[in-house]
Symmetry: C2
Subunit: 347 residues, 2 copies
DNA sequence: ATTAGCACTCCGCATGTGTGAGTGCTAAAT
DNA sequence: ATTTAGCACTCACACATGCGGAGTGCTAAT
């Protein structure tokens, strides 16, 4: 694409992102000094429309970017600004809270994300099954229920209550905890294979207890295995003029209340790159057709384990969103990696 | 108030609740056969308006109930229907899930509440400090952090990570857990008084360890002591015609995102009665001036510990809301009481 | 005390009109 | 061969105008 067309597409997109109004040739000529007259810009815009980058909401209105136009914009037009030092500091403060539990850290991180961008923010945290076991503990609750406590690798703590067919005495649960710890510490819960289980059976020396343990772990895993979705600032979409229509806003917010849908939407994004942008029709769900999602992956020591991002209208401040989301994700990764190392050392 | 005026007020309120349109004398004469002509009804309505029970959105429109009208309606006009057997069954199924954690039970209970009423639902669960300790466990995480796990009376399980100034070895944490369990089991965490602490110190036989334990418990308590607010179906307020205006909806939903505000709002309701109704201007917060809240308390063995309810427009189906909310709260209480008894027996 | 009748009010809706922003086209200028 | 000025045209939006209908309050008759 010729340089001038690029400049115009960029000007139109920037302006529309800012004002939410269709932008005309005069406006561009006035605000962005490209050194050419409105007429020339009109001609170029007609070309851009032909090429599918711009569209007109109605004849004789200004132009707005199409999804394709936004795609071109994010891929090769926008320049991503640095996050300001104050904001960097704010994000670091929020993320570096090692005494907090991981879920809380993520929760608060995306709350900040929503505040800084004024978009809805979301995050996915992996389930407990992914990391190595740090600690496993079984406590009796009443005759038929026990509490299973799992602490896994980067600092996930999860507990669940499991019904057991036969009562377990405190001494039995203690014994069970000890044996389970011996065998599972350092291994991923996903690795609970037959070999491991049979070995466990030998060491337990109690068939009945062994069966219970297996049943128990199975249940615990089934319940707690799924990824968690965090969401914050869903109301912020109501700030956007494109959602001034309640019906549309309702549809979107209802979709956001179903966490499973968010999850399947987010798991679609390619995680081979750090920051991913999904624009309008690229979204799988119809309710999101006027939305864009900017996500970044975070992980431990290079391995991706989760995802944070923001959701806004397709007319989103992509540059800003990318920079902030990326910075938050990077900090999360850094923190998790440090915590992980610290734990390794302390063993 | 004369019987006929009561009948008319009731008819107006019922009709307005159903249609959301100002209701006129003709409508009442047609739909509710009071055996009098529209003219008579008009006269009565004028009286009711004079008395402050009805108001006109504008001259020559029908009447709608004022807050005072609603108040009179809920206090002495409406008849609360029975919950249908199917719905009762549905609620019971949702609440009687003893293998689930309490928070989850409440969460799912109010999700159902929102579905059944089509209003936003909310609940308050007391913090961990209120109930007696069932179990307390301290686990080392890394050099400077330990995990404190608390299981308290009716089945609350909470954990938090606490930073400690000096490393605690696994054997020390085990010892500490054992001593703490001995002393605290069966007592409320709020009772952690000086006497108890000094006794603890003697038994621990280790000044440094004792100090850490105290610091640790303090921190754990400070973090986890607050009540939890659950909220579900916030988007449902967008179904109400009174919130067709996005600006108004936004204001309300923003208020709902601040859990602390909900909490302070809910703690205002008098809990000497089981079901409480707060109508329009009776709410403390300005954002809620067009809303009503119907809440019911739940508890263990007669002692109130929490609150569930629904939030809707002042034009709310009060009768229906009261019956469903009350039934959910009753079931929660029953379940909690049973769980509590079961635990007592198993000790 | 109740009701029929009637004039009056005011909202909601549809219709008509003007204005302004913006376009596309054509012809002139560079 | 571009670029630009000029101009006619389009269309959304805002604003006035004009009904129709639902509902009221008042008065007089029952």
């Amino acid at each position: 694409m010729q340089e001038r067309k690029r400049k115009i597409l960029r000007a139109v997109t920037d302006d529309y992102i800012q004002t939410a109004e269709p932008v005309g040739s005069r406006t561009i000529a006035r605000k962005y000094n490209l050194g050419v007259s409105p007429a020339t810009i009109r001609n170029e815009m007609a070309d851009l429309e032909e090429g599918g980058y711009l569209r007109q909401p109605h004849t004789s209105a200004g132009r707005i970017p199409s999804d394709k136009g936004y795609r071109y914009y994010v891929d090769s037009l926008m320049d991503v600004p640095e996050v300001s030092p104050e904001e960097k500091e704010q994000i670091r403060r929020e993320v570096y809270q090692p005494q907090r539990e991981l879920g809380d850290v993520v929760q608060r991180a995306i709350r900040l994300l929503a505040m800084l961008t004024n978009y809805t923010s979301l995050a996915v945290m992996p389930g407990v099954h992914q990391g190595a076991v740090r600690h496993i503990q079984i406590l009796p609750m009443d005759e038929t229920h026990v509490l299973v406590l799992l602490v896994t690798e980067p600092g996930f703590v999860q507990h669940c209550i499991v019904e057991v067919s036969n009562p377990l005495t405190p001494s039995k649960t203690e014994h069970l905890s000890a044996v389970l710890n011996d065998h599972l510490k350092g291994r991923a819960l996903g690795d609970l294979d037959r070999l491991l289980l049979s070995q466990l059976g030998e060491d337990l020396n109690d068939v009945r207890l062994f069966e219970q343990a297996v049943e128990l772990l199975h249940r615990a895993l089934r319940e707690q295995t799924d990824e968690t979705v965090y969401l914050d600032g869903a109301v912020r979409i109501l700030n956007q003029p494109e959602f001034r229509d309640v019906e549309r806003a309702k549809l979107l917010m209802e979709a956001l209340e179903e966490r499973s849908r968010i999850l399947s939407m987010l798991s679609e994004v390619a995680d081979d790159q750090e920051v991913a942008i999904t624009i309008g029709e690229e979204n799988v769900y119809a309710e999101m057709r006027d939305c864009s999602v900017v996500t970044a992956t975070y992980g431990i020591g290079g391995q991706t384990i989760g995802l944070v991002g923001v959701l806004g209208p397709t007319r989103m401040e992509y540059a800003r969103a990318v920079s902030v989301v990326e910075f938050v994700a990077d900090n999360l990764s850094e923190m998790l990696t440090k915590m992980s190392r610290r734990w390794s050392r302390s063993r």
